[in-house]
């Protein structure tokens, strides 16, 4: 499976393995918040 993408300025590319490891560490505590309800609203 390819790594996720990173955008730097106008360039979007696949993360390197080091970048992906840092990304996983930076978001490891992200969890679905209590009370979240998806709403069908226009953006």
């Amino acid at each position: 499976m390819p790594n996720p993408f990173i955008q730097i300025g106008n360039e979007t590319r696949e993360m390197t393995d080091d970048e992906f490891a840092e990304y996983q560490e930076a978001t490891k505590d992200a969890k679905l918040i209590d009370g979240y309800v998806p709403l069908d609203i226009p953006n």
């Binding site: 993408f5 918040i33 998806p38």
Partner: protein
């Protein structure tokens, strides 16, 4: 630079108006529109010696997955973030996400529509800790967050990291507070 003032009846010349424009308090620096489906969006070269403090605006950032906290980083550094993200939702149940010597600063809750945020960034380019504080909202939540990168280093870039999934649209604007 002192504030330009005018007297009653005075003709406003082009030079006067140019000076007036140059005296504006908040000055556009750069913007970055999401391209593709990144999980990290970095705005490079947005901090420099021209300004000490900045206002950053997330305009309708969208994510592939809603309900997770996104994180912020400065200068690509991945340690020494401390802060508090608070949130509540229209359905009830809010909470707090804390960053303590974390790899990034938890700052707001992402959604598939209407994710917006304004934050002030204090001294990112100076070799001092970078302080961040702001307000955020998504489809059915609101919150405020504060935090800092407790490392006395100079940073020139800023990154938004999706807590889950990818960033699918929107624009980040960076403004500088004009020095007096």
């Amino acid at each position: 630079m002192s504030i330009k003032t005018y007297s009653a009846g005075e003709v406003l010349t082009a030079a006067n108006m140019n000076t007036y424009s140059a005296n504006s308090g908040l000055v556009y620096v750069t913007s970055q529109t999401v391209s593709g489906t990144p999980s990290i969006l970095t705005v490079p070269d947005c901090f420099n010696s021209t300004y000490d403090n900045y206002r950053i605006v997330f305009e309708r950032i969208t994510f592939s997955v809603g309900g997770y906290s996104y994180t912020l980083r400065v200068g690509g550094y991945n340690t020494l973030y401390y802060g508090v993200e608070t949130y509540d939702t229209s359905a009830g149940g809010g909470g707090v996400t804390r960053s303590h010597n974390a790899a990034a600063l938890y700052f707001g809750v992402q959604d598939s529509a209407s994710t917006a945020c304004t934050l002030d960034v204090i001294n990112p380019y100076l070799e001092k800790s970078t302080i961040m504080m702001g307000l955020s909202m998504g489809a059915n939540y609101g919150g405020w967050s504060t935090g800092q990168h407790a490392n006395a280093v100079s940073c020139t870039s800023f990154s938004l990291l999706a807590g889950s999934g990818t960033i699918t649209g929107g624009t980040i604007y960076v403004f500088g507070y004009r020095k007096v």
